[in-house]
Symmetry: C2
């Protein structure tokens, strides 16, 4: 049965919004025994109407579970985590799906949960929010970052096995600070730029004419500006220093483009645009080399952790994680020309 | 027969790249008598292989045509236009599909072509370039800007009728400078921001990790950075002053977002993001009111031109244009709460 590999056959989801609801229904469809809780009674009612147990108390929802996905808004995570931890067995794996990882990782470690909380971030989403927008297929095949700490390698293995089995996830192992640094460019800056572009149009005297002309480039470039402002603000505030640092880098490249444009320097402008296109082309046409890596029972978890983090930092991911009798076998993929090391 | 309304049954396309090729094959599929020319002999050969006449000389391709679409790179347009004009009848309607309009409009007027050259810009495209990427459906239903000058109203009517018939275009009438001002925000700034984001990632030490995490927001936000650098550079250079002016506005909004973020001011940040979302929501859920407007034979073209330009500036468009015995009837649509006037 799915979930058996990691021994996580009984799962709970706390917070049944867009991501939590999508996780919940996919776990249910995969045959796991699931329960859910949300602070909103209406959301709990909707969950029940879709055939999933949703008791009124979070403690009841998570009691006796092997794994709990904590899916509320970013600022609520440390408190929810403490409540869920207190109501679950010390073997129960805990994870979250927030878009920023260092803060919640630090909070969990301070709560003594480093051995069973594995910070997570599935790289998928939608402009809409809430259970109504949730869909079991939303996270299928997504890149799913997991950030195991020094004492969390065993929990990581079990969770990774579940994510690969149920979501066909590409599991990207990273340290929490590395995730936040990469996510600043991969997700948070795109939200900031989309907001700036849409905001400038909103204030422009030409607003209606601009919207009349808006085709692919504007529509794509501002899509995430259509998301809930609170959610985006929480994300940006949760990774403030990295976002501001990367904004300087993006601003520097923008200044170079604007400088070449101002000078009418076609060669310089084309050169910068060609440089930018390299990253975009790499995104579309990525080739990977695959390998298997095993860690026997009793091996030093620090070596395994170093391997995992190096894999993620190099742009790699896992599509297989087999746990048996204390040993683990990973199926891993690295970009074909990896600047590893 | 399609094209009869405007009397434009014989058409030519000069420059058979992504847009020109798409125009060509849609005109052919609609039953028009078409011919094409491209400076590249290989492109002419490919056109012939797809069953369209493509003589070796541009003069032969355009001779005797009722309408010619000039579709080459922006910097080549004035020279190509002069060559095409010299080889066509003075009644032959000329248009282009470039992404910037004021410069080519001025050049055409200087060449004495204001009465038959109607600057055009279909708001559609693709990251790829060239005839291989062309598709008859690429421009179906697109917003298609046309910029009639004071002496070009008759040519505008005939061309608009053709575009509505063949492409089901939403024809947006604007002055060339108004187009360039709106396109700066609707298209050129999105290209610039996409380039800055992709360029910063390309230079980042975290490049591979960022690409591993890149999901919707990055992928959408940088899509146009995957286009040909020369094409994007020509577009930006062709509308330099407006692009730089609007960059200041986008930069100002970005500074407000960054300021709120730096200050940790969640309310201010959420407020700015909510403001930005208003424009984005208006793009998705636009409602229009429709009306009919007729101009009888012998009416003052200046009145018609003023009507058309006001329609476009207010975010409106035409989906019908019926020409008969010197009169015209337009089917027009305006945003439901138009800030007209």
């Amino acid at each position: 049965m799915v979930g058996e590999a990691g021994g996580l056959a009984r799962a709970a989801v706390v917070g049944t919004g867009l991501i939590g609801g999508s996780v919940l229904f996919r776990l249910r469809d995969a045959g796991l025994d699931v329960a859910a809780w949300d602070p909103d009674p209406a959301a709990r009612r909707q969950v029940r109407e879709r055939g999933v147990a949703a008791p009124d108390e979070v403690e009841e929802a998570v009691a006796g579970r092997h794994v709990v996905f904590v899916c509320g808004p970013l600022p609520t995570l440390p408190a929810t985590l403490a409540r869920v931890a207190a109501a679950t067995d010390d073997r129960c794996v805990l994870t979250d799906v927030g878009s920023v990882k260092a803060e919640v990782a630090t909070a969990a470690t301070a709560q003594g949960l480093g051995h069973r909380f594995v910070p997570g971030h599935p790289m998928a989403g939608a402009d809409r929010a809430g259970l109504g927008a949730a869909a079991p297929e939303l996270l299928d095949g997504a890149a799913w970052v997991l950030c195991p700490g020094p004492t969390g390698v065993d929990a990581f293995r079990r969770l990774a096995a579940l994510l690969v089995d149920v979501f066909h996830a590409r599991v990207v192992p990273m340290s929490a600070p590395e995730h936040d640094a990469a996510a600043a460019l991969a997700s948070h800056l795109p939200h900031l730029l989309a907001g700036a572009l849409a905001g400038a149009v909103q204030r422009s005297a030409l607003r209606d004419a601009v919207l009349a002309l808006a085709a692919g480039s504007f529509s794509d470039g501002t899509r995430v500006a259509g998301g809930p402002p609170e959610r985006t603000a929480n994300m940006l505030l949760g990774n403030r220093d990295r976002v501001l640092a990367e904004l300087i880098e993006v601003g520097a490249f923008l200044d170079e483009l604007a400088g070449a444009l101002r000078a009418g320097d076609a060669a310089a402008l084309t050169g910068r645009l060609a440089e930018a296109r390299t990253a975009r082309a790499a995104l579309r046409g990525r080739a990977f080399t695959s390998h298997r890596r095993e860690f026997p029972a009793g091996a030093d978890p620090a070596v395994e952790l170093a391997y995992l983090r190096e894999l993620g930092a190099a742009g790699g991911h896992l599509t297989g994680c087999r746990v048996a009798a204390g040993a683990v076998g990973y199926t891993a993929h690295l970009p074909a020309t990896p600047p590893l090391g």
